[in-house]
Symmetry: C2
Subunit: 171 residues, 2 copies
DNA sequence: AAGATAACATATGAGTTCCGTATTATCCGG
DNA sequence: CCGGATAATACGGAACTCATATGTTATCTT
């Protein structure tokens, strides 16, 4: 068989491994950056994750947010208490369903956190400037797929947890 | 002025914005995945971050790890206590400097966590299979740069914190 | 249509974690 | 050797997490 072909296959395998390693690294560094930013605005890093979710996924209910963030509902109450007390978010009752609450991010303070990410932001601009358009498309595409894969993997783990403690598997 | 050129510039700007959004999303999803994995092995998610760092950056000292992970040294003592008690890592005294300690990951249990990431792992294999070699190189390269940018940004924030509380700026 | 049931958010409290500071052990320069 | 610096940990108060309980409102059942 062709050594050229198997050589290419090896390269691909190696690259895939490199990508996984880079992804672990990336997650870790971004996680640390997140921690530093959190410390600056005097919230827990989990709180900042939630704030980010609230900002991006519009006004939403605490229970929805709990599912989205993968935290216990009671924990989320505490998180929202802190975010609300510090003026990051507002709670308002849902007019459709008066049991429910809608949480929305307040725009004023959001600028602060944006400013803290300014360094990372401009660094990313510089990095992106080094690629051509089709390459940027590849990168954006890859990251969206990877994020989706992460979401699915997390969901499967959550479901598995469910199955382990509850009924084995619904028919 | 050329509408074609400004159109391309607009596309690039849009792509850069998309990449930043995708990166936020990616970080968030991976963070949630991390939380689920942590819950499965009964450790805090910060603990898992540290375990990952220990695994990847070989045996290292608690103080080095504290710097690397961006956590308070006293907090790290607690983290290591938990990881050690559960059999994830071992502490051993450094023979060169008997004040110091070396922390190393124990291989046995590491397989468990590997298994929990199996779903994500195979999903990434599939995703990577959809790109050709040069595209994979672009992705790997981008992620390494982004991780580096994150590290620098976090470092700058940490230094700024230092400057804010200590001397304004050393000459 | 009325009552039972479920869903939503939050209160409560026990157990755990975080982190500023103090303590102990060790290294290094003079 | 000794004084100062550095590594890791001990300690304790404040803060956090989470299982469970509670009060309110919606939805289902018959």
């Amino acid at each position: 068989m062709s050594s050229v072909l198997s050589g290419e296959a090896d390269d691909r395998r190696g690259l895939t491994t490199q990508i996984k390693a880079a992804l672990r690294d990336l997650r870790n560094e971004l996680s640390i950056l997140n921690r530093q930013v959190s410390a600056r605005i005097a919230v827990k890093d989990g709180d900042l994750d939630c704030l980010d979710l609230i900002t991006r996924h519009g006004p939403l209910s605490p229970s929805g947010l709990a599912r989205l963030a993968g935290v216990h509902p009671a924990t989320l109450t505490g998180i929202l208490d802190r975010l609300e007390r510090a003026g990051w978010v507002a709670r308002e009752r849902d007019v459709q369903d008066r049991r429910a609450v809608l949480v929305r991010a307040l725009p004023q303070r959001s600028r602060e956190v944006f400013h803290l990410y300014a360094g990372m932001n401009s660094a990313l601009d510089e990095i992106c400037a080094g690629y051509d358009q089709s390459q940027l498309e590849v990168v954006a595409d890859f990251m969206r797929r990877a994020a989706d894969a992460g979401k699915n993997a997390a969901q499967e783990l959550a479901d598995g947890e469910q199955a382990a403690h509850g009924k084995p598997s619904p028919p």
